[in-house]
Symmetry: D3
Subunit: 168 residues, 6 copies
C-alpha cells in the first residue's frame, strides 16, 4: 500500500517526521508531496522547493520504507486539484491529511483518507518555528538535524529575518 | 434589448431571482453571467460552475423572457475585463450591476449600466445564507426551491460545513 | 439521461445539428460544450465564444429536448481535462464524441462514451466550410440559417477573409 | 553605470522624483521599472501601466541623465523574479531599493543594491496620496505637475472615488 | 498625434528604422511596441526584450520626434488583445501595421490604422537577417550600427548559431 | 559533486539508463529532471509525470549513487528557465545535456555543462520506441524491464494506440 502525505514543510520539522514514521508503520511506500513548491522568499514561505526536497530527503534517510519526495504545484482550482495530484505523483492508495478541505476533496473523488495523529502541535508548527527563526529563538531542537543543516548551508535564518523586515 | 446580469451566485437566492424578474420587465433577453466560475469548494465559494448553472437555469424556468446562463472566467486584470466579457457572451445592450467597480469599467468602455433595486439585502445575501448553511439555520426559505434541490442532491450543506472547519 | 457533446463549432453547421438531433432521440437533456472558447479571429478559429453561443442556441431552437450551450475553456493538460469539464457543466451521464483522444480520456475516468454517426463528412466539415467562406463559395447551404444570420450580422465573412491574408 | 529603480508608482509622486534625481547624481543612465503594470482600476492600484508610463516620462523630462520607463510584469515567484527583470530591461549595474525582499533577492543573485534616502515619507506615500484623492484633499502639491495633468486628463480622481465605493 | 508601431524586432533592422522615420513625418510622437517580449533564445526569437529595447532606443537616437520603446506581452487571445495594448502603453491615435490580423483587430475596435510602405522587403526581413547571422553572412549592413553593437556586446551571433544546432 | 540530467523520458529507455550510469561514474549524486511533466495523453507525450517518475525510480534501483527523480514544470520562457530549474531541485554542480539550447542557457548562467555520449541513437530514441509501441513492434527490449512493467500496468500501449488514431 502506497500512502500520500502532503504539506508545505516550511520548514520540515519533527512533527512532520513523526507523521512520516507513523505512516511507515502501516504503508509499504510513502510519497511526500510538497505543496506550494513554486513559492519562496516570503515570510510564510521562506524556502524553495529544491531546498525543501533536500531537507526532507535527508531527514528521512532512516525511514523504514521507500519514499518519494515530490513537488505538487498549486493549481488554484479545487475542483481539479485531485486529478492534478493523481497525474503528478506515482499511484497511491491512501491519503494522509488533517486538513478538512483536502479531506473533502479526496473523499468527493472516492479516495480513502486517514488523519494521522498530531505531535506537540503547539510547538511543532511551521508558524511557531518561523517566529523562532525570525527572533533568534531555539528553533534547531524542533526540526531534524539534517534539515537544520540545509537551512544553515543556505543562510536561511538571515533570509527569513531580512524578508520579514518592514520597508517603512 | 438584451441585458447582462453578472454575479457569483454562491448560491443563487431569492434576491437574485427578483433582480432577474425585474430585468425581464424591461429587456427582451437576459444573460446571467457567473463570475469566478473556476472557484469552488472554498468557504466563500462552495459551488462549482456546473452546479451554479443548474441552480440558476432551473430556478428561472418560469422567467418571461429567454435567458442564457454562462460562466465568465476571471481574468484578474480590470483593464481588459470588459472586452473579455464581450467576447465570451452574446452581444448585449445594457449591463445590470450595483458593483461600483463593475459600473466604472463598463462606463469607461461606453456601455450603458443600470443599477437594479436590491431586495431585503440583509437577509438575501450570499454571506448571510452561507452562514445559515454552515450553522444549520433556515437557509431554504431564502433561495428558490429548485436551487435548494440542486444543493441537496450534491450534499452541498455537508460540503460547506466540512470545508469551513479549521484543521487546528 | 443528460448527454454532453463537445466541439469547437467554427462554425456550427448542419452536421453538428444532425448530431444534436440524433442525441435528442436517446437523451433527456443535452449539453453542447464549446471547446477553445477563448480563441477567435484566427483563420482556423474565426468566431468568438459569444458568437458561437448565439449561433448554436438559435439553430437548436426547435430541438425536442432542453439544452445548455456552454463554453469549456482549454486547460492544456489532458490529465486534468475531464475533471475540468465535470466542474464546469451540469452533471452528465454520457459523452458523445468521435475524437479518439476525448474518448480515451473519458474512458480512463470511467465515463460512458457514445460515438454518434457522421453526416456527409466531406462537405460538412469546419475546414471545408471556412474555405468556402474565404473564397466566396456557397457556405450558406451547409449551415443552419440561424447560424448564417449570426455570421452575417457580425461581418463574419469579411473577417475570415481579412485575417486569412498574408502580410508578405 | 546604469541604475534600476523599481516601484509601483500609484501614482508617481515628488518622493519618487527626488529619488530619481538622487540616482542621477551617481548613475549615467536610469531605468524606471513599473511593478504590477497589469493591475489597474483597484483602490490600491488605480492607474494602468500606460497612464503611469506617461506620468513618469513627462515628470522626468528635465532629468540630467537618459532614462527608460518600462513595465516589469509580475511573475508571482520570487525565486525567478530577478532573472525575469534582467531579461525584460536593458542591462543594469546597480539596483536602487528600500524594500527588504527586493534587496534580498538581488543580493542572493550577486547584484549590487543601494538604498536611496526617503523624502518626507509620511506625506509622500502612495497610500497617503490615494486617500487625499479619494476624499478630495490637496494631492496636487505632492506630485509633479506633469503627473497631475495626466491624472486630470483621464478623469483619474473620479475613477478612484468610484472604485473605492462599497456596493453594500 | 501619437502613433503606435508594433513588431517583434528580432532583430531591429533598417526596414524598421525606415518605417519609424516615415511615421515621424506625420506623427508627433511614436510608440514602438515590442511583441512577444517574453520569448528569447529560440531560433526565430533570439533576443530578450531588454536587448531589443536597447537596440531600438539607441538606433532611433536621431529620430525627429519623441518616442517610447515598450514591451507588449502576448496574451494569446485576439478578442482582448486591443484592450490589453491600450492599457499597457500611452494613449495613441493611429496604429501603423501591415499585418492583416492586427489591422482587423484594431478596426473592429474602431481605431484608425495606417499601412506604412515596406522597404526592400526581400533583404530587410527578420527571417533573412537571422539566416545571415546563422551562416556567417553579411548581416551588419542590414541593421543600424547601434543595433549591431548591442548584438556584438552580448555575443548574439554565437547565441543564434548555438541554439540553431540540432541535437541529433 | 551533484549532477543534473534533464529529459522528457517518454518513455525512459536503455539509452537514458546508460547515461545515468555514465554520470554515476563521475558524480556523487544524480538528479533526474523530468521535462514537460504536465503533458500526457498525447502521441508525442503519452505518459504522465507520475508514471514517468515510477518508471525511472524503479529502473535505476541498482544505480551506484543516490538519485532524485523530480518533475521540472515548463515555464515557456527561456530567459528565466535556468533560475526556475535551480529553485525547483536540490543544488547541483554540473548539468549533463546534449541539447544545444539547454547547453547555451546554462552556459549563459555560468553553469558547467557536460555532454554525455549517446548510445545506439537510432534505435534508442523516444520517437522510434513510440512508433514501435504504436504499430506493435518489439519495444520491450529497448527499455528497462521495470519501465516496461509500469507501462503494462497502466495499459500504456493501448493508450498510445488509441490517442494516435485520427478521427477523420
Amino acid at each position: 500500500m502506497r500512502g500520500l502525505y502532503i504539506g508545505r514543510f516550511q520548514p520540515f520539522h519533527n512533527g512532520h517526521k513523526a507523521v512520516a514514521e507513523y505512516i511507515a508503520e502501516e504503508a509499504d511506500e510513502l510519497i511526500v508531496g510538497i505543496g506550494s513548491p513554486q513559492i519562496s522568499h516570503e515570510p510564510l514561505h521562506p524556502f524553495t522547493a529544491g531546498e525543501r526536497i533536500l531537507m526532507i530527503t535527508q531527514s528521512l534517510a532512516d525511514l523504514k520504507i521507500p519514499y518519494y519526495v515530490l513537488p505538487v504545484t498549486d493549481v488554484y482550482r479545487n475542483a481539479i486539484w485531485v486529478s492534478h495530484v493523481i497525474s503528478m505523483v506515482p499511484k497511491f492508495d491512501v491519503v494522509y491529511s488533517s486538513n478538512p478541505q483536502v479531506i473533502r476533496l479526496f473523499e468527493e473523488a472516492g479516495i480513502e483518507v486517514h488523519s494521522p495523529p498530531m505531535y506537540d502541535r503547539d510547538r511543532l508548527s511551521g508558524t511557531a518555528i518561523r517566529e523562532l527563526m525570525k527572533y533568534g529563538g531555539n528553533w534547531e531542537e524542533l526540526i531534524p538535524k539534517e534539515a537544520a543543516e540545509v537551512i544553515r548551508s543556505i543562510g536561511g535564518i538571515r533570509r527569513i529575518q531580512q524578508i520579514s523586515q518592514s520597508d517603512e
